[in-house]
């Protein structure tokens, strides 16, 4: 049975493109575009991995991540955070909050698939994966 991944991203075209790529990689992909209702959607979908954009309408990805880590049911949920290039403060804050991996926009599809696979295999520890580590940022 395919593992389930939830993409919380308000940019519809990013959602469609990376949803397509991850589907091809064997994932059951679901998308959600609103920060304010993301927690309810995570509860409903119960994903194996969460891909979360930092800047969302209504509620920031960092606030959502903070809530996830405070709730026993989602404390261990692997979270891949999408940040924007140059927003070092977001990454520092996300690391402190317990993100498992980062990708900075614009990222490549190969990077996305590789990072998601790493998270799925449990080969990354919190806040240690993604392109930032490879680029030394």
């Amino acid at each position: 049975m395919a593992k389930r991944i939830l993409l919380v991203e308000d940019e519809a075209n990013i959602l469609e493109a990376i949803g397509f790529i991850l589907s091809r990689d064997g994932w059951e992909v679901l998308g959600h575009g609103k920060g304010e209702t993301a927690l309810a959607e995570i509860d409903r979908v119960d994903p194996d991995i969460l891909v979360l954009d930092v800047m969302l309408p209504g509620r920031s990805g960092l606030d959502i991540l903070r809530d996830l880590r405070e709730r026993p049911a989602t404390r261990a949920l692997p979270v891949l955070l999408l940040t924007a290039k140059g927003q070092a403060r977001d990454r520092e804050q996300a690391m402190a909050l317990g993100a498992n991996a980062f990708l900075t926009k614009p990222f490549s599809n190969d990077e996305l698939v590789a990072t998601v696979r790493s998270l799925s295999e449990g080969s990354v520890s919190p806040s240690s994966a993604g392109d930032d580590r490879r680029s030394g940022a």
Binding site: N13, R24, M55, P57, G58, S108, N109
Partner: protein, 445 residues
């Protein structure tokens, strides 16, 4: 404190400087001795540092050599010397063809005007480097700029991922291929709009780019942001705590910034005295911090209630509040920013904000639902009131105040769904025309 020259071991003797200067201007020893009223043999002893020199004789020799006495006794002006030395150091040690740092004194003595110019330009470069550093810091911390940058990079991410699929997925279903082509076209247009809006952020009133350095208002607002817009010391101690807060805050060494922050904190103290937390909080908690239920507080001063709600302690279970205050010209006087609700750094905000509509209805409080271009919804409570006492025949000075708060998901206000939006329950607003992606907006300048 030792100057750079002294730290570098540059301790030259007065006699040597007299000799160097004399040779530099091609003066014979006998001529200089004659001009100073001493014998050539005595001058020879001085020039070889075998006689101490000072007082009247030093002045006479300096006058004959055409320099200030200090140049002979202390060498070139220490500040200029250090500046030139620092400029040379900036080129890197051991650089071939670099400046002759051992001859800075010669340069200063022979070309004082050019030397001062080099030193001045070196200082200017240093100031510009500091400004660049400040701008770099701002790029990382300005929320409006961060949001605009995030939108541009999100478009770039969508284009990159979509283009990658189109190029690499050879067996792509024609329906998907058509769909991704449309997405690519749509995203390219969006990127164009977003990039233009981002550039608008940098279109400063001053073409030299100096407007991006912090203004006194920005520095004062940064003080408020750093304290989460709440000052317990003022809440309990009143205006007497202001000086201490200013002394402990960054950026207050600038007189204009300090004056601006003091003015804002004084207003805070006046507000706290007129509507103390002890009077506000019990009622506000009972009303779940709904401003509409608190209008009778503070003697009916609605703007006061709105300002106080934007300064609640962090531990209160209140919704996140942002605040904007403008004068009758529309100029923004005060901002408390809120995530996803962009307020521009320069120029006015969106003409559709209720903040500006309130100016046309003085004294009439209003509540509206706002929808941003990204789809986020906010409640906005606004009012315009006079802020000055007026006499007969004179117009009052007006200010408008707008308190904003995110609409929580599922809130039953008629605006929690898209139908509500379409029926006109929510006003479609933006961050201000220079940043707004709503190209077809009727209010666009």
């Amino acid at each position: 404190m030792a100057t750079l020259a002294e730290r570098n071991g540059r301790v030259e003797l007065t006699g040597s400087r007299i000799r160097d200067r004399r040779l530099l201007i091609g003066m014979k020893q006998s001529a200089l001795a004659d001009a100073a009223g001493i014998s050539p043999s005595y001058l020879n002893l001085i020039e070889h540092n075998r006689r101490r020199i000072g007082g009247k004789l030093l002045i006479e020799l300096a006058r004959a050599l055409g320099v200030e006495p200090g140049v002979l006794s202390d060498g070139a002006d220490a500040t200029i010397h250090d500046t030139l030395q620092a400029a040379a150091n900036g080129l890197g040690e051991g650089r071939r063809g670099g400046p002759e740092t051992d001859r800075i004194d010669d340069l200063a003595a022979r070309f004082p005007g050019w030397t001062a110019l080099i030193a001045q330009q070196r200082k200017r470069i240093g100031d510009l480097e500091a400004a660049v550093e400040a701008l770099r810091d701002r790029l990382a911390h300005d929320p409006v700029l961060a949001e605009a940058m995030h939108e541009v990079l999100s478009s770039a991410a969508a284009i990159r991922s979509t283009a990658d699929i189109l190029v690499r997925e050879a067996d792509l279903d024609p329906a998907w291929r058509g769909r991704f082509h449309r997405n690519l076209h749509e995203e390219a247009e969006r990127l164009s709009r977003r990039a233009t809006a981002l550039l608008g952020h940098f279109e400063a009133p001053d073409a030299r780019g100096e407007t991006l350095s912090a203004t006194p208002v920005e520095t004062a607002e940064a003080l408020f942001d750093a304290n989460d817009h709440h000052f317990p010391a003022i809440e309990t101690g009143g205006a007497t705590a202001i000086a201490s807060i200013l002394d402990q805050s960054a950026g207050m060494e600038d007189a204009a910034s300090r004056a601006m922050a003091e003015r804002m904190l004084t207003r805070y103290a006046e507000d706290a005295a007129r509507l103390p937390l002890s009077a506000l909080l019990p009622t506000a908690r009972a009303a779940r911090f709904d401003p509409s239920a608190l209008l009778s507080l503070g003697g009916g001063d609605v703007a006061l209630v709105l300002r106080r709600l934007a300064t609640l302690p962090r531990e209160e279970p209140a919704p996140a509040f942002g605040l904007a205050v403008c004068d009758a010209s529309g100029a923004l006087l005060f901002r408390r920013r809120l995530m996803a609700f962009s307020i521009p750094r320069f120029g006015p905000g969106c003409p559709l904000w209720p903040l500006y509509a309130a100016l046309a209805r003085p004294g009439q409080p209003d509540m509206a639902i706002l929808r941003t271009p990204s789809g986020a919804r906010f409640r906005a409570w606004s009012v315009a009131q006079p802020v000055s006492q007026t006499g007969f025949g004179s117009a009052p000075v007006m200010q408008a105040t707008m308190l904003i708060s995110p609409v929580e998901a599922g809130a039953e206000d008629g605006a929690g769904d898209r139908d509500g939006d379409r029926n006109g329950a929510a006003i479609s607003i933006g961050p201000g025309c220079s940043l707004c992606p709503r190209a077809e907006c009727m209010a666009r300048r």
